[in-house]
Amino acid sequence: MAVYPATDITEIKKILEHVVDPEIPVLTIADLGILRKVEWEGEQLLVTITPTYSGCPAMKMIEEEIYSKLKQEGYENVVVKSVLSPAWTTDWLSPEGRNKLEEYGIAPPLHASADKKILLGTNKHVRCPRCKSENTEMKSQFGSTACKALYVCRDCKEPFDYFKCL
């Protein structure tokens, strides 16, 4: 029987709190809802993650980070599995995640992703993370990464990223 520092899943999840999205380093994979499950399968630790976007280039790095962080803490027999279903949605962003995003200068996604209006880009109530004005304008549905749209604030004139609904 292998000896682990702790077999308690909550403890292991604490270790994984140090794994962040390389493109938005204020968010942990748990904040983002990328981390789906941590479980023991016999002596093997199975970590299940899901990509935000099909082509998200951060997934490989996140996977490597999970291995390396767990290894540092003494977990050798680890498998990271990536699943597509259920498909990731911005609804899975944690409340802390949303706050951290806004503090970081990225407007968090508005409501449930089911809202067609947002998907169509016709919702006008994205709040500027800097001056909190809702008088903002979408410049492009596609921003600096797959998960962001490009906005500009009409009041403080600053451009900012909006974490778009998916």
Binding site: C56, L84, A87, G143
Partner: protein, 252 residues
């Protein structure tokens, strides 16, 4: 043809469409008319490549010969690719790229939506994941058709011309053969006649708003789904496959 062979073919068709149009859009990187649109096209290209990866990975699993999605992308020759001819057409000017994207994205949206109901759960899962992304592609394409179609005299003319040039590649999107029929029978595939109605509706509505005239259906080019391609695919592969072929052990 066994069911397994048909499924492999079918997955190649879906995956290769994404891979090749994704590569084409990636060619715009650094060449977009303005920064925002450069970024937008590359975002869409990335979605396509990500989706291609999922479809081709599944194709490899179905094939069961130990190939990977990279082998399929980088080590097949043109006649083994199964994408429709539309996807490999050159970027041309901005309007040509947008019209190609419009014809494909509106199709891809209906196709992927129908695919979420597939009896093959792996395929339904990939479709579900992709559909959200493709909704954005479709909206983007339709917005630009309207903006430039109903824009200046020059932009209108260029869009109408691009539409007429590319229309002959739209027929292949909905052409079915024995592979499609086997897949429909199994409850795996999509009946392209069914989604054609929705496609027609979207295309007609968008073109009307864009003040563009829908070209008459005339001679339709075909062949890509069977591996018979236009000369353009060879050039795409020459660029896309150069590195892994010249340096087979190259690591990122």
């Amino acid at each position: 043809m066994t069911k397994q062979e048909a499924l492999f073919e079918y997955l190649l068709r879906i995956g290769d469409n994404s891979l090749i149009i994704g590569h084409r859009m990636g060619e715009w990187c650094g060449h977009g008319p303005i920064l925002e649109q450069d970024i937008a096209l590359i975002n869409i290209a990335l979605d396509h490549i990500g989706q291609a990866r999922n479809w081709l990975q599944l194709a490899c699993t179905v094939e069961g010969k130990g190939r990977t999605e990279d082998d399929l992308a980088y080590l097949r020759d043109a006649y083994d690719f199964r994408n429709v001819l539309l996807c490999e057409q050159p970027n041309g000017h901005w309007g040509d790229t947008l019209v190609r994207g419009f014809l494909f994205d509106t199709f891809n949206y209906e196709f992927t939506k129908a695919m979420t109901q597939s009896s093959n759960s792996d395929m339904a899962d990939i479709a579900q994941k992709s559909l959200k992304e493709i909704s954005y592609h479709k909206n983007y394409s339709c917005d630009w058709m309207i903006r430039l179609g109903d824009g200046t005299e020059e932009s209108h003319e260029k869009m109408q011309h691009a539409l007429e040039n590319l229309w002959k590649y739209s027929g292949e999107l909905f052409r079915m053969d024995e592979v499609d029929e086997m897949m429909i029978q199994e409850g795996i595939g999509v009946d392209l006649n069914e989604i054609k109605k929705e496609w027609d509706k979207t295309v007609n509505e968008t073109l009307e708003e864009a003040t563009l005239k829908r070209p008459e259906d005339g001679w339709m080019q075909k062949g890509g789904k069977k591996g018979v391609h236009t000369e353009y695919l060879g050039y795409i592969l020459a660029e896309m496959q150069f590195l892994p072929r010249a340096y087979p052990d190259a690591k990122w």
